[in-house]
Symmetry: C2
Subunit: 471 residues, 2 copies
């Protein structure tokens, strides 16, 4: 095994940057930006991690332009950081060693739709809402829904998932193939449009979740799904976190094809009620949704109702109208902002551990006890059908003692998930925030393999350096 020597690096020097800026501007004109405000927007994300700005922002319009930009940077060993919409939560977009932020927001074409094959080809800058708007007439949709209106490139790069993953899988399961610009500026394809293949190493899955550290995704072939004929959705409240979890576990075990099953703790519900002007019962809640035929969703919802009742669930509140459903899920998606609204001035420190579902009730109970003992305000919301949940302490960053308590809590949260055979991040990715847990989770041997892969594909460490792999 090749063991990677951490690259010692400084930010590129002034002369290098001036020459690079000149070359880029000569080619791309006003699509090259060096103003501080724009650079700050490209380092900044919805995260608690300090903003580390890139030196240059460039906005390519084609795969060939991306390849050219990478070659220009590679020739000078200048870092390259791919940028989608900036909704990353773990500092993926920061530029700790400076370099060029490659903003892909101009590359947002829906390149092709193949309705008969249930797939489409997109550029990385298109967002999930834009994609679904454009797909509407086809009767198909792209189900992965991380809440934020993220770009498909960013979603693929972080192996995103969200509320629908329990039924439709994650980005890993819904990317068929990629066009990638490699760290040397070559353009490769990682797969065909066949639904399955055993032809060689699975490069698609290697780049999905690599967070731009192995290359830049410039075209993505996605699986699509038929818009369900019928949808049933609603809310049911529980007296305790444990009984809500037990209902989830039983639902999953029974094989009910639930499309979404979301948990909100009573703290999160209070936040949503205030922010979204709702009147949800302020107790542990499950939000659920079934997709299928008219007869199918009725049958499924009835079974779920029985399971909820067996576990002490309160009455269902159905969301039969499409508007009510939209409102419900919009509120769920606004959980991040609703939480911030609960404590004005506080920053939200998001996390997203994921455990085997059999450990979920225990993990949530221990976490809630820990929150109370730590004196924190930390709403919980989760894609509990996958065993994945979010805890977001609301922290006054100017109170060092509170910051320390929150940090200690977050550390225990991850260690607890790992001790339960879980993962430090279900869907947000590693970025800068979770690097310190990678060895605990995977072991030194697996981490060494990851380093070997990085070194093999990016020997000069120019692609999004300082992310995923601890130095």
């Amino acid at each position: 095994m090749n063991v990677m020597t951490p690259v010692k690096r400084a930010r590129p020097d002034e002369a290098t940057l001036a020459a690079l800026t000149g070359e880029l501007t000569g080619r791309y004109g006003n699509r090259v930006v060096t103003s501080l405000a724009v650079r700050q927007q490209h380092g900044h994300t919805t995260t608690w991690i300090e903003n580390q700005v890139p030196d240059i922002v460039v906005m390519p319009q084609t795969t060939e332009e991306v390849a050219e930009i990478v070659r220009l940077c590679a020739a000078r060993r200048v870092p390259v950081i791919p940028f989608g919409t900036g909704t990353s939560l773990e500092g993926h977009l920061n530029a700790p060693f400076g370099g060029v932020s490659v903003d892909l927001s101009l590359m947002k074409r829906l390149v092709a739709v193949h309705p008969e094959d249930l797939d489409c080809v997109v550029e990385p800058g298109i967002t999930r809402k834009e994609l679904n708007e454009q797909l509407r007439d086809t009767g198909l949709f792209f189900p992965i829904d991380p809440g934020a209106d993220a770009s498909l490139g960013g979603m693929a790069a972080t192996r995103a998932s969200g509320t629908n993953a329990v039924r439709y899988g994650t980005m890993k399961d819904n990317v068929l193939a990629l066009t990638v610009v490699t760290p040397s500026g070559d353009i490769i394809r990682t797969g065909s449009r066949a639904r399955k293949s055993s032809a060689g190493y699975d490069l698609t899955r290697l780049f999905v979740g690599a967070e731009g550290t192995l290359g830049i995704l410039t075209e993505i072939t996605l699986k699509l799904h038929g818009i369900p004929e019928a949808v049933s959705a609603g809310i049911v409240s529980f007296a305790s976190v444990k009984s809500a979890c037990d209902a989830v576990i039983q639902t999953i075990q029974s094989g009910l094809p639930v499309a979404r099953i979301e948990f909100l703790d009573e703290v999160q519900v209070r936040g949503l009620n205030a922010y979204s002007k709702l009147t949800l019962p302020e107790s542990p809640l499950l939000l659920f949704e079934f997709h299928g035929t008219e007869a199918g969703v009725v049958e499924q919802a009835e079974r779920f109702g029985e399971i909820a009742a067996e576990n002490g669930g309160g009455n269902f509140e159905w969301a039969t109208k499409a508007e009510d459903r939209s409102r419900l899920w919009q509120a769920r998606h606004d959980a991040y902002w609703a939480s911030l609204g609960m404590r004005p001035g506080a920053r939200g420190v998001a996390s997203d551990v994921c455990v085997p579902i059999s450990r979920l009730a225990e993990c949530l109970a221990d976490t809630k006890r820990d929150i109370a003992e730590s004196g924190l305000i930390a709403p919980i919301a989760g894609h509990v059908g996958d065993g994945n949940f979010h805890v977001m302490p609301l922290v006054m960053m100017d109170d060092p003692a509170e910051v320390r308590r929150a940090e200690d809590f977050m550390h225990r949260l991850v260690e607890r998930a790992l001790a339960m055979e879980g993962t430090c991040t279900g869907e947000h990715g590693v970025g800068q925030g979770k690097m310190k847990y990678l060895e605990d989770e995977h072991g030194a041997g697996a981490l060494a393999v990851m380093r070997s892969l990085k070194r093999a594909l990016d020997p000069d460490d120019i692609m999004n350096p300082g992310k995923i792999l601890p130095a």
Copy 2:
């Protein structure tokens, strides 16, 4: 990008082999075998490719023993070839440079079952039938079914799939985590038991489908599924290949959750009738199966019936009894042997291209025309819900002209699939047989990335050398 220099290699010399045999025998006694008959069994597989025997066969009982064997081989740069049940079709198990066949058939424990998490942990030598036998009392099953009673290790290594993939996915989708012995003899874990994770590079998917060229899988964490409450299955015949394909396409597009939808051409049906003593109508057939609730499968089968009728399908023949279904699917699984029985003395030259489903009818029609024009006998059977089908020319290997015609036909078959945005292998893997198509399918750039990965993890090229990546 590091470009790999093809390793020039001879078989290990006599002194090296004698020393290695001595060391292995000292440790593992009669679990080390060097008799020619046993070595031939370990090179030989159900394939048309010439048998290239390993020098030594060793049967480890634990992950630690596998690691020790790999370290002993690595110290001498002796090739290591993992072996499961020997059902490979593309020469994966051959030893073109000699070396040690690591026969994992003694490692067949079901290590753990977690019914509440719908997962289990197995050793690589357990076969899919053995696994499902042992799972029976849990109400769960492992759905991937490549026909042969293959080992789970082999299935993971070739990214296998089979009749159920249209509903349950392939091995890529059903392996949660692996324990792997790397080419340096380290033992790593590639994932947790969390249902999803964004924590670093997807090592699991890198080793799944790597055909033992990057390491040996010694423990596999698998997703399980609930045994369906109800199953409906049957057969429907069509006047033409095109109308059968059109029915499949419409079924998939409509989102009907078909569990299996298999195509047999009239030649294959004749073979099955003779071999399995059936009376299937000798025309293009679809075999189908739905899994779900009692009400669900009735609704689904009715819809499928409408679609089949719209496309000129004949009457359904239902297989309502479990015995009838078993007989039907057993016959389907026996297609390989049934085909061989159609032309005694012939060898079956199996292939398994996969195309986007919109191209399936055209691809099958062109292929059947090509078979006729080539004067070959070549039954077709396919997992057509995925766009994947098998063609197996039955070739008299002592007739050089016929062998040449078959080779030319197989070449056109793959080129046709690639031209239709498909893949040279949907599920059999590359092995030795499909190496020559890898560059056509993936392009030189992607192939260079694959070579970089191989070189990074296995710089001395000891793990199953001469497979996947052309020299």
